[in-house]
Subunit: 312 residues, 6 copies
């Protein structure tokens, strides 16, 4: 398969991609053309369709298509000049090949998460975690495949798991360094803090905000999922429920980032930091991992500064 | 009874008050004294106990006490110079006399709220409102007696009802002026928007933040109460549930005031305005109703400006 | 007449429009063309002139032109491919057909405003209102035709009147709910609060900022208009003049929105809220009234959030 | 006379001061005393009256009183322990001795201001300045005696003149350095920019905000004074009037400091800078001129930083 | 010795403390008294001197004094009622007993820091670290004894070392989790990031801002110390010098916290997070470690929220 | 030579320009073209190359090229339609003709700066200034040719000198008006405040941020240059060094503009104002000097407002 990340100028081939978007345009001469965004697991690229008899009418965005054309360079970026296009047939392709994936193996990450769960000694907190991650197969399956964001960072399948595991590991480090932290509470909060994203974002290939996500947000959705699960666990202490819910509500750290409460417990503060660090360092790492990233990369909105790769 | 609002300098009497707080101090000569905050429904005032043999050790804050003493003026404010004090006996007093009350009759306000409920035509929204305000006697009783705040505005018994009714009436006005508004949804949101205060604030005489209130806040608590009630109503549409929850979440209008979402629906925006207006105008009205309010009253933190009573 | 809102793809016709703007461009091949913005009371649309022999040199922006051409679709938006164009002749068109209009009848709204004036009992405030709205025919005529903004909201003829009436009605509602409000003062402030827009914005069809508007703003201009009129009313109390001027100065509520004073009187606060509510709800209603508004409409700068139409 | 700035610990004398404020207090033993703020042109100091038979009942704040007592040190600050006090008689004192004064001679400063006026060549701008500063004797007299602030900086008689002259001189410097500046316009703006303070602040000895000052502020009041005067000058160009009014409106530079417009003209920007510099440097100079100012002086609210005197 | 943390009400003893401050006051009766702040390594407490013949004139703040008196409770806080006081004699006390100390052993922490230095493989970065921490005995001695702040957090001897070690450990954790990080550069930055505090704060017992500290701040001072040391290391790469200096300059993360540059390198971002986490969690831990910390502790300025100890 | 500022539509010529940038594009028909930014000392303009056989491959950005073509108007802006292009030969052009220049003569400005230096009486401050401006020929040469910014204001050769001289003159004015200012210190600070720009920005023709400039910024770089020079001057007082360094660090006045310290000395405040005024007035003057600047010029990002030329 001609992976998008491996395209070379001048190549001619026929292959199948996910059509992420399909937009018509018009040349200055009044001729209609189409711009498609093609996607596979290695990235996205533009494809141009100039010949409207090429089959352009028979598919929509988020369908899989077979395109035939030549890779060309336009303003220093590669794109596909498409000569023919048609809807791909079931069986011709494997959807898994078209979803961006975490660079880490899913099952291995999940096993490490389960390891953390087995280390929790507080019986009700452990029961809560098992109710989600061990006993709820649908939850576990969805959790493994979900992204942690629409874009920005961890916006690939397995991203939610990768982020959750990393945040949990950072929290584990804090427990060792600051003995006042209640480990069971913090780690439970870490593992549950973003589960609301399962409902805030739709599954791949769309990976976009849901209506509930827009209206309520993953913070409140996640807290509700936790509260509902807790209601089914006998003997869950009221104060622990409130503290865990607080930790989830406060994990964005500031009102302006959508937390309705600021961290008022040591564990809430620790989780907020772990979440923020992994988000920001991941943004930076994804930026710098791009092999085209040379010199100063320009102002980065989410980092609020210009950045460059370290040369030391 | 010697109502605090009616005290006159030089009066000597014996009467019963709620002891809101009890703090010891020491004169420059090393002599211990006590400062009590006395409360009845007409207001609060300080009482000084200089003579420690007067019975000071036999009660705590939030108990009812009988005090005997003389009203004196200190830095232009009246206070009670207490000669004797003792714990009041059950039956000597009626707790209702010691709780600040809404100036409007409770049952009359509640009837008007019920009238709004009867005007709702959407079957599930009506069922939701009736589940709270009609069929849940404990909820109704608490709702009538609660305040809408610890201090600042509507911090009296019946305050939550008075504020809720006023906000509902303002929303009704908007419905008539902006026909695009969905009346059933907005009025349901108006009546439910602050029910979380039943759990955020404790009952009178304490009327202070609860632990859950500090950790979660009335916005999220209220939304959860609504979501739980909805779960028991057959056929409640998912989208209506999300919209109603959004309206409650967004009613503070801005992240910085604790709303995790900004108003994204017309009804959410309308409710936010109604809530904000009644809060701010009530603060102003409570300030200006004070018969001692003359001329410029100085910088008011919650209004972010100096204010005075209109002279026109 | 081919109203812009009713255009259909493929239609061919000849009709007259206001040319709101006229800008030349060049194709990649070096050929010059013109883009015109055409306007009638139902909206605006683009028109392209590719053939420069078509008469393009004989008119300027803000003149009325007769165009002949075909409606085409470009990136999902309709535009007119213009084959011939000429300046329209006096008598061929009625300017009133080219100005966006309030959906409410002007005279009916004005009558309701006059009704409010007749309800004012304070003799000098009533005299002030009559001096503007009853006795000054030029003022009254201009007030009925003006917009309340260049764009954003109420940017149509009658918009100033519609907004002023709505704000006055909202204030009337507040007077009934908060008896401490001085009704005569608040309603006078409401009716006068935006009269400075008569000088801040030019008349239709331009409806754009004037030089004085840019330099001074409608808040200060309006306060000066009121102060000058008051100077001609015998016995107008000094304190009432200052309070009324304050109410106008403070009606934007915050320094950052151009009010040099924050609301310090109950009536100033009430007027600010009424003004703000009608502005924000009108923005939302204008957005949602667009028949093309489906689903989430994207981030709205003036509302600082994404929005959608309510589905309940 | 025993000037307050010259008091020495242990001195005993009888002298006359302005009683700026009079507040009663009570000792821990229940004894009433009075704290007076005494003022003369060299400063203010506290005076304590412990003996209530001393004449304390026969005067109010802002009256002149004769006090007899001993200077004592309390928490490192000198105060007067007052044994006897009475209202001073007309003729016993000269009010001019009790008002803080600019360190520069008033008439000399005024002459320099008149010199600037004579250098203005634009006939109407010159006429405007003369209408205020030359032909309006009451204005001129008030302008010479007024302060530029209640406190903070230039809060002494002659302060308005001193600040206005300094700002005018700074603007003159800018005219020489930036030839694009219209000198007549800028200097007229400089001389008029704070005349609204004549109505925003009352005269000495009170020197406090007036009701109109609180409601409207000196920026708008000053612009109105200018606009009214201009109305009496034949042939004053409309655009010049608007530009001059803009310059006055914008002289605080930012919305948050009460300017309803930001500087949009070169002269408006220049005046804003001159005003800001003289205000901030004068605050700093007044701070550092205090002979007790040693080392780091602590956080200064209006400078938003800790400061110290330069040692180089 | 009667450690301050162990005082009990009613105890009478004679012991030596550091007199941190000495301030005179006056009773309402005009009697002078002194309030002393006493300090030993376990904390600080107030001492009152009512009898001025007690020796109060013979010492100043920051001297060691022997006091004799009785521990009393005043508004729920213990203080010493001092009957006699005199300057302590050399030899009577060990200054080390009067300086608050890190709870961790200094040499052990320093050894771990040296361990990190030995793990650095970049020759010039290692040389830089050794030039400070290994070869500069005066630096090493000062570094071990310094605090990391005047107050707020780590304001005890060994605090700079404790904070530096913790930040270095956190950075080491990040290196393992984010392989793109250049470990040598980040750990060098971590160990050097706060060395400017050696000159920003004076040594114990004063532990207060120096003049240079006020004027320049530890960020710029520290960067200069690094730059000067680098100038003596042959072959130190220019780009590495600039990157290291950037990392130090940017470690406060935001302009508003005194960093003249925002983190533009991955290592700069990582160091900022590590520094911020240890500061905030340490503030929280110091707060919660107080055995008097029960329930909600009230609004905490540096955490911008109310906090309480976790109860789970 | 055909100076860019003098181009007229329809002109055909062959001339040499600096090629500031070179970017390829593609027409809607798939044909590649190039857009060049041409620069001479009078300004910049676009040039289009449609014919790729014209020599486009033989040069890069920042080289000098000879172009032959015709001036055409496109969307009201002149550009060059290039028919032939080649790399210019050494000797065919004088680089000085391609660098934008200060409108003031360099040597005359430098002489005035030297005059200020000769007026400094503090021996070490004078020695410092001479070490830079008199004795360091390379520094002097660079200082004369450098800009004060990449763009925004003073972004021309001689701009650093022009800005520095103007700021020094403004400071001299302040010294005369505020006698508390230490003239030697302030003027030394003024002359040195932006010398870090010699390393923050590269020389012409590039005039762009250097790597060190991005990482450290001119404020810190400049302070280090001063500190290093001071280290070579015997007897330079420590406190003067710290005060001078503070003045440089604080000259942007606010944290958010990259100053790590706020002005804490009178001279630091004065320098900040002088720097800010010359920056802002120069931006305005450069804007208004454009002969195409008519009417309202639109929102100006660096002035945060719409502006227009004064008409009085």
């Amino acid at each position: 398969m001609s992976k998008i990340a491996n395209w070379r100028e001048g190549e001619i081939f026929s292959d199948i991609y996910l059509c992420r978007s399909k937009v018509s345009g018009k040349t200055k001469n009044g001729k209609t053309y189409y711009n498609l965004t093609l996607q596979d697991k290695t990235g996205t690229a533009d494809g141009k369709v100039w010949d409207l008899s090429s089959g352009i009418d028979h598919f929509e965005a988020l369908q899989y298509i077979r395109v035939e054309g030549e890779v060309q360079r336009y303003q220093n970026v590669l794109q596909l000049n498409i000569r023919r296009v048609r809807l791909a047939r079931e069986g011709e392709y494997d959807p898994a090949d078209y979803v961006p994936m975490s660079p880490y193996p899913i099952e291995e990450m999940y096993d490490r998460l389960l390891g953390f769960i087995r280390s929790i000694t507080h019986p009700q907190l452990r029961a809560l975690l098992e109710a989600f991650f061990v006993n709820d197969a649908a939850f576990a399956k969805a959790f493994k495949q979900h992204s942690a964001a629409k874009s920005v960072h961890h916006s690939f399948s397995g991203g939610l798991l990768q982020h959750t595991l990393r945040v949990t590991e950072l929290c584990e480090d804090y427990c060792r360094k600051y003995p006042l932290i209640k480990r069971d509470l913090l780690l439970t909060g870490a593992m549950c803090h973003d589960i609301g994203k399962l409902k805030e974002l739709s599954t791949f290939p769309a990976n976009d905000y849901t209506d509930a996500g827009q209206l309520l947000g993953h913070i409140v959705i996640g807290m509700q999922m936790v509260a509902e699960k807790i209601a089914q666990i006998p003997g869950f202490p009221e104060v622990t429920k409130n503290e865990l819910c607080h930790i989830i509500l406060a994990h964005h750290g500031e009102f302006e980032f959508g937390s309705p409460k600021k961290p008022a417990l040591l564990e809430a503060m620790a989780l907020h930091f772990a979440d923020n660090i992994d988000a920001k360092l991941e943004i930076m790492c994804e930026l710098l991992s791009d092999s085209n990233a040379h010199g100063w990369l320009g102002f980065q909105k989410f980092l609020d500064t210009n950045v460059r790769r370290t040369e030391t």
